[in-house]
Amino acid sequence: MEKPDKIEREKKYIPPGMVGTYMRRIAESDPFVREIQDEPSALRLYMDTCTKCGVCAQECPVYYGQPDKRMHPVERSRQVIRLYKKYTTFWGRFWNAIFPKPDFENNDAELFSERMYECLTCRRCAAFCPVGIDHSVVSRVGRSLVDLMGLTPPSLAQGTHNSFETGNLEGASPEAFLDTIQFIEEELKEETGQDISIPLDREGAEIFFLPPSGDVLVYAENLMGMAKIFHAIDADWTMSSRAFDGSNFGFTTGNNFSMKYENKHYIDACEKLGCKLMVMGECGHAYRVMKFMASEGHWWGTLPFEITSGFEYTAQLIRAGKLKLDPDKNPDSVTYHDACQFAAGCGIVEEPREILKAACADYREMPDGGYTQWCCGGGGGLSALRSVRAFRMDVSGKKKAEQMRETDAKVVSTSCLQCRTQLKEIARYHKIPLKITGVHELVNNAIILE
């Protein structure tokens, strides 16, 4: 993979005193990902077209949890927009020359960083804003600046670094991966009595399966579900021992450079194996970047394979009657929590429901589900941050906790490692007796293999 020198990347870091340099640069375009054309234009338009109606605050899970000015989406975006104006617009520069003001509130770059990570980038605001303003875009620009100042929360920075360097978040070696796969195969054998293999690095296979971050090393049931599906339809599939952890932390941290190159690991792996279809597992970030940015934006030219998500793939098989599922294997009532990146980011709403309805005896909707879901409170990378746990439990996750308490289902199924981690923590913290699962985990229970 042609990867620019690491030094080049390091050179991007700027001290907080040089905020203007960055702001001017994003006004021009990010030299690493020129294709992200919507970002500066979105910022400009949002700057000018906000009607200041306050609807976004009414819909924002963070403001819901703590209704004060600091948590107001418009107020947060204003922090970024004022920097942008200050350094890139004529009037901004003019007024700054006459009445210079510090870049950040209280001249505190760390406070600014904290505030950028108080947005869950869930896009709920955009779904209800009368003029379609998406504060997640503005927060992401703010996070880019935070990243350039080297103030990204360490665990996210580490994850981004690992993904960039090794293609997986944990920085796990191919050997550790191979061991785990072997273990999963043994589990499958024990459970079904059948030889369900998880092919690795098989050149010329038709399907390349990219599991989401965590499905191999933490929540293997999802991967087992996928393996059973491929086995049931006798698919010609493979995974890669080099790219087995689909995620995108660069998207979360606003680091466009990482976002682009993290993605390349997966593309290279699929291309190298000569697969025709990339099926991506339950990670909305990775899928959104791959499908809607890298592929449609031709970041790496026209890709020689198609891209689909595990949800679309499985739902299609169910519709075609190719999978046999026994809903009685999942007898408890199940509801679905839409992961923001899948629902509001990629429009994948119907498919997980189709799957759950086929795989579970009793499916129930969660209020406001679908494109206008309430974020779990751990979106935008927050669930990976232990440092903001109190915020996640009492503020950003407050609405979700209420919804979980009110649901009459016994199981909450969801589709993202971050959501899953956060929902589990909410259930534990607020003492809500609910089980949290993945979607393909329930397919894993229900699938009938002949």
Partner: protein, 267 residues
Amino acid sequence: MDGFEFFILYRLPYIAIPFYLIMLSVRIWVWMRFYNPAIKLLPRTRRSVYGVWKQQYRPTIHIFPGSRSQRTKWKRAIKGFVFFTGLYKRDKVLWLGSWSLHLGLFLVIVAHVRVILPPNLEPICLRVALIGSGLMTVSGTYLLLRRIIVQRVREITDFRDYLAEFILLFFSLTAFLMVLDGGISSEALRHYVSRLVTGTAAVIDVQRIFVWHMLAAQLLLIVIPFSHLLHLGGIFLSREFLGTSDTFAGDFGSGFSGLKDGQDEKP
């Protein structure tokens, strides 16, 4: 005609109207320019403005997956623009307030067409103006009160926002009072417009309230480019630029580009 009247009717329009047009054009140019910074790297972009636009619309990435079917896009844009469907789904009271304000504004603008209509349609036009300005006044008052009372709105409101809304209210109130007072005859209006166009000031037979209404209208033109009222101009462009027709129409059910081109209506 005293000095105040002369200034408002025959001098200020030459400042306010060009100012508004220039400022709005500058905004639109900036939005266009910022649509795609990479445009500067493309060859032949200097040839024509149309060329720039055309290349800007080349399909690259969309951070926001939106519908790519032209039919769906238009359907949503019209639904969203005409009926504010997104807002309706969430906040019916606010929807009623803002939709009736915009409807009122539309009716007020339509009523001005009487300048070119036959005199027998005058009473209808005046009724339209009365309804329009009445709607604007009532809903404008509601929106202003909401801005003052509701915490999440007050928190993000600054002096310029209050000023803009006061001027808007002033504009609708003067229109309402003027029409209530019998309105201005089309003939007088035509006379005034022709004098304005030819640059020859003359006394016209109108009530004093007309002067105040003209003052409000011109102040409005001056503040629009600097206030939240600018969404009037930006709203069309933002949809097209950012491909977010989905959120605009509040139509969440279908049309994301998870499916292939041309089939983005989900079953």
